[in-house]
Amino acid sequence: MNRIALRMLVGDRAKYLAIIMGVAFASLLITQQASIFVGLMTRTFGFITDTSRPDVWVMDPKVQYVDDIKPVQDTMLYRVRGVAGVEWATPLYKGLLKARLSNGNFQTCIVVGLDDATLTGGPPVMLEGTLADLRRSEGVIVDEEGAKGRLARMPMDEQGRPIKGAKPIPIGIGDTLELNDRRAVVVGVCRVSRTFQSQPVIYTTYTRATQFAPRERKLLSFVTAGAAEGVSPRELCERIQSQTGLAAFTRDEFSWKTVLYFMKYTGIPINFGIAVALGFLVGTAIAGQTFYQFTLDNLRHFGTLKAMGAGNLRLLRMVLLQALVVGVVGYGLGVGAASMFGRLAGPTQLSFRLLWQTLAGTGAAVALICVIASLISVQRVMRLEPGVVFK
C-alpha cells in the first residue's frame, strides 16, 4: 500500500508539484528570512567576531553593547594582568574620530587601536600590506569598503576642482589621511565584517590611536585577555570582575549581550522577527493548505479504500508517508533555493547567514507543518463514513 500511497501522491504531476512548491516556498521563506535575521544580528557583533583571539573582554560595567564605548583608565590594563589565570591581556581602543580627506572633506571613521607590542585584535583579512606594517611610523590600515567608498579620492582637474561624473579613486598604500590634525599613512587594506556602523574602519596601534583621539583622562575602551591553561573563560570573567570591579564577558557572552541590546532597543530585530514569523505563518498556511487540499481531493479514494477494508491505521500511514515525501522533497528544494539565494547575496550588502540551526529549525517547522496538515487531513479520512462510497 505504500507504493499505492506514493503513486497517488506523484501520479497527478500538477497537484504534486503544487504541494511540493508550497512546502518548498515555505522552507525557502522561513530559511531565508531567518538567515537574513541571523545575518543582521551577526552584524551587531561583527567587531567581536573579527577580534577573535581574546577569550575575555573587560570593560566599564556600564557598557551595554560593543559599540557603546565607555573608556576606563589605562591602569586597568595592569590590574587585569594581575588577576590570576590571565595568560595575557592587551589594550584595545575603539572610537569614532573625524578624518580629513585630501579634498578637505571630513569623514567620521571607526578607529581601532591595537596593542603596540602584539597587535592583538587586528582585522581578520588583509588584502594589501601586512598587519606588522602598522609598526611603521604614522601607519594605519583602512578597510576595503571605506577605501573604495567614503575615503576614496575624487579625481581633480588642474585647477583642483573635482571632475564631475568621474569615478572616485580608492585610497591605497602610500595615501595619507589626517586624523585630528595628525598625519596618517595608509600601509595596508583589510576586510572586516560588516556591522551596523557604516563608517570606514581604520586600524592602528593603541598608542597612535590615543594620539589621534582627543585628550581625555580615560581612553582604554576594552581590555582583551586570554585565559591561562586550565582556567575557563567564564571563571576568568568572574575573577576579573570581583578583583577589578570592571565587567568581563566571554566572547560569546559579549556577542549575546550586544545582540540582546539590539533586540531590546532597536526596532530592526523586531521587524525582522515579524518577517520570520510571517514567513513561518505564510509558509505554514501555503504548505498546510495545499497538502490538506490534496487529501481532501483524495477523500473519495480513501473512502473507497476504507470500504474495501483498509483500516484507519493503514490510511493514517498512507497519509503520513505522503506528508513525509512532500516534506522531505519540499524542504530540500526550499533550503536549496535559500542557500542559492545566500550565495548570490553573498557579495552584496545583504546580510545573510545560514546556520545549521536555521536548517534544523526550518526542518522542524516543515515537519510540524506536514504533521499538522496530515493530522487534520487524516481526521477527515478517519471520520469518513465508508458509506459515502456509494454517493
Binding site: M1, R3, I4, R7, M8, V10, G11, D12, R300, H301, T304, L305, K306, A307, M308, G309, A310, G311, R314, E385, P386, G387, V389, F390, K391
Partner: protein, 244 residues
C-alpha cells in the same frame, strides 16, 4: 445443503435513519430480505427509496438502527469497527456506478488493491491482478491508467477488483447506469458468468430495466420497504406498467 447454510444474507425489520431531530430522514422502514448463496439479486425501485442505504447496511459500511441482519452468519452490530473493516476486506467486493478507480495508478494496481489491503506484497498482488484482468478480457490493458480506458473497460477493471480477493458477497450500485446499453450487457454478462459462483451472493442495485433479465430474483423497493420479490421481470413490468 441445509436451509441455513444456503442463506447468504438475512435481514429482518431493518430500520435506518439519517440525521437527527427535525432533520431526521428514515431511509429504511423495516426491511425483510433474504439472499441465497449463488444468487444474483437485483434491488430496484424509484430514486430515493433506500436501495443504496440497504446495500450499505448489507455490506457493513453503514450501521443499521434497528432490526436484525446477518451476512454469512455474521452480525456486524456485534463486531468492533476494526473487525468489521477487516471482515469487509476479506468478504465483500464493491462495484460502483462511478467506478471509483484511483486515477493515478494503473488498471492492474487498482485491481490489486484489495489484496494489498489484506497484506499481500505488491508483486504477487499485481501478478494475480493481471490474471483477473485476463478473466474480464483486459489482459493486455493492465498498464493503462483509468483515464486511458473507456467507461465499460473501467467498469470491467472495477469488477476485476471486486473479485480478486475471492469475496463471498459482491455489492454493485447501479453498475450499468453510466454505460450504454450494449456495454451494460457486457458488464452484466461478466457479473453473471465470472463473478457469480455457488458460494457467493451478488446484490445489484439498478433501475436499468434492460438488465432485469440477468437477475435470479428482483426485489422491488419503495419508500424504505421491500414491496415484493419476483423471479420473472415480466411480473414487474406488468405490475408497474399501467400506473406509471
Amino acid at each position: 445443503m441445509t436451509e441455513a447454510s444456503s442463506i447468504a444474507i438475512e435481514c429482518k425489520g431493518v430500520v435506518k435513519h439519517y440525521g437527527q431531530g427535525a432533520a431526521r430522514v428514515t431511509a429504511l422502514r423495516g426491511v425483510d430480505l433474504t439472499v441465497r448463496k449463488g444468487e444474483l439479486l437485483m434491488l430496484v425501485g424509484p430514486s430515493g427509496c433506500g436501495k443504496t442505504t440497504l446495500i450499505s447496511v448489507i455490506a457493513g459500511v453503514l450501521d443499521r438502527n434497528e432490526g436484525a441482519c446477518t451476512v454469512f452468519g455474521e452480525d456486524f452490530a456485534r463486531m468492533s469497527a476494526r473487525a468489521r473493516t477487516r471482515w469487509r476486506g476479506e468478504n465483500v467486493g464493491f462495484v460502483f456506478q462511478a467506478f471509483n478507480l484511483i486515477p493515478t495508478i494503473t488498471a492492474a494496481e487498482n485491481v490489486a488493491v484489495p489484496l494489498m489491503i489484506l497484506g499481500e506484497g505488491h508483486g504477487a498482488a499485481i501478478r494475480r491482478a493481471r490474471e483477473v484482468l485476463e478473466m474480464v478480457g483486459l489482459g493486455d490493458r493492465w498498464r493503462a491508467l483509468p483515464a486511458q480506458l473507456s467507461g465499460g473497460q473501467q467498469q470491467r477493471v472495477a469488477i476485476a477488483r471486486s473479485l480478486i480477493h475471492g469475496p463471498r458477497l459482491i455489492v454493485c450500485d447501479e453498475p450499468t447506469s453510466a454505460l450504454d446499453h450494449q456495454t451494460g450487457h457486457v458488464i452484466m454478462r461478466l457479473l453473471k458468468n465470472v463473478a457469480l459462483r455457488e458460494d457467493r451472493a451478488l446484490v445489484i442495485v439498478t433501475h436499468d430495466a434492460r438488465i432485469f433479465g440477468f437477475a435470479d430474483r428482483i426485489a422491488e423497493m419503495d419508500d424504505g420497504r421491500i414491496e415484493r420479490i419476483v423471479t420473472d421481470p415480466r411480473e414487474l413490468m406488468a405490475g408497474t406498467a399501467p400506473g406509471r
